[in-house]
Structures are given as C-alpha cells and as structure tokens.
Amino acid sequence: MNRRAFVFSLEALLTLLAAITLVLLVLPPTRNAETDWNSLQRNALAQDLLETSVKQKSLARELYAFADGDEDAKRALSERWTALLSKTGAVCFKLEAGSGSLETECAGTKRFAATASRALFDGFALREAKLALYFDS
C-alpha cells in the first residue's frame, strides 16, 4: 500500500468518525422517554388525589378537619388513602395541612417522590395542603 492511499483512507475514516460522533451528540435522549412518562403519571396521581379531595364536599370536610388536627379524620384518611394508593404502586405518603401532619409507614424504599399542593378554604381560614407520594422505583 502506498503512502498516499493510506493517507486517503485515514482521512475518510476520520471523516466517518467525526460524522458519527456529531450524530450521537445530537440524538435525543430516547432512553429516558419511559422514565419521564412514569414520573409524569405519578405526579398526575398526586394531583388527582388532592383534586378529588377538595372537589367532593364530604372529602373536603374531612381534609379541613385533618387540617384542624382532628385525630379521627387523620385515621380515616390514613386508612382510606393507604388502601387506595396500594393500587397505584405508591409505597407510602406524607400529608401536611394546617396543624395536621400524617406520614404512613413505607412498604418499600422511597426512591421517587411525586408532590402536589392545594389551597384549602373552609369559609374561615385559608391553609395549604401538601402531599408527597413515594414510589420504590
């Protein structure tokens, strides 16, 4: 092989490598598509839970009572939401509203948190409800 042909081949190879590198750099991060989708879904779940709670009068009353520190409301919320969330893949949750605070026992490791918040107004006071749902993957 003469020297000239070697240089040409090397040149062509370098061009090829440069082009491939360029393309790999601009490729969209496709592997994260499913992860992003899961994260979106889980955040939607947290939003759903608070939204349905403030939308329905009897559920909203329970939430107001929880925010006032009512122990019965806290127990009822804990039992109902734990049962409900077990069907969604969440391992535990944390809810804070007014003087009420509730953190359930985790059935797994907290690896992902989806959060949501809503303003609560019972006609007398305005408070904020903050919810965090935890997932183990």
């Binding site: 040409f8 090829l16 490729l27 779940l45 759903d48 839970l49």
Partner: protein, 122 residues
C-alpha cells in the same frame, strides 16, 4: 481521488446517521405519541359520564371502588386478580400503554387503570 474518497465517506456517514436518527426518533416518537394518546383517552373516559354509567351498570358505583378500567370497560377484580393485572402491565410491551388515575365514582375516590392497546389508539 482524494476528493472522491472523502465524498463517499461523507455520504456513507450521512446516510448511516440519517438511518440511525430515523430509527431512534421513530421509536421515541411512537412511545410518546402512544402515551399521550392513552393519557387523553383515559382522561376523556374517566371524566365522561360513560365511566360512571359503566360503573353503575356493573352493579352500582360502590363496585367500582378499587376497580380496573381495561380498554373501555370497568371491571371489579379481586385483589389477587388485580395483582396479576399489575404484573402483566409491568411487562408492558410497545403495543400497550397503561394509565392509572384517581377519580371520583359515586362520590368515592377510586383508582382506575386505563390500558390502551395499539389497535385502540386512534
């Protein structure tokens, strides 16, 4: 000679790159599209009167508590069957996209799962 080599290599690289880009973006696009379609269908279904009617037709809204929505129908499943369904859904292939939402049925907060198959995504 030198220019021809360079031209051929560049053409080859560009073709390969375009092919790669097409394959990657087509996959990502189809997943995102299907996910978005399933989300839209689930939202529309859950928020529609039909969901509640289907629930009621199934023996009363209370039956929908903890129910699973499977492609336009709500089924009350015992816990073990629900677990099986969840297990199946974990093996989601590219033809199936599942969306879990919490909605009000008969005044109760209910976890519903809407699964859309490729053929159902219109």
């Amino acid at each position: 000679m030198f220019s021809l080599d360079l031209l051929l290599a560049t053409l080859l690289a560009v073709t390969a790159a375009a092919l790669l880009l097409y394959v990657f973006t087509a996959n990502a696009h189809s997943f995102t599209e299907r996910a978005r379609d399933a989300q839209a269908q689930a939202d529309a279904f859950i928020e529609s009167e039909n969901a509640l009617k289907t629930c009621e037709a199934d023996g009363g809204a209370a039956l929908c508590e903890g129910g699973v929505v499977l492609v336009n129908e709500i089924k009350k499943l015992p816990d073990e069957a629900y677990a099986e369904t969840k297990k199946e859904n974990r093996k989601e292939n590219e033809n199936r996209v599942c969306v879990t939402r919490i909605a009000l049925f008969g005044g109760k907060q209910t976890a519903v799962q809407y699964c859309a198959e490729r053929g159902d995504l219109k």
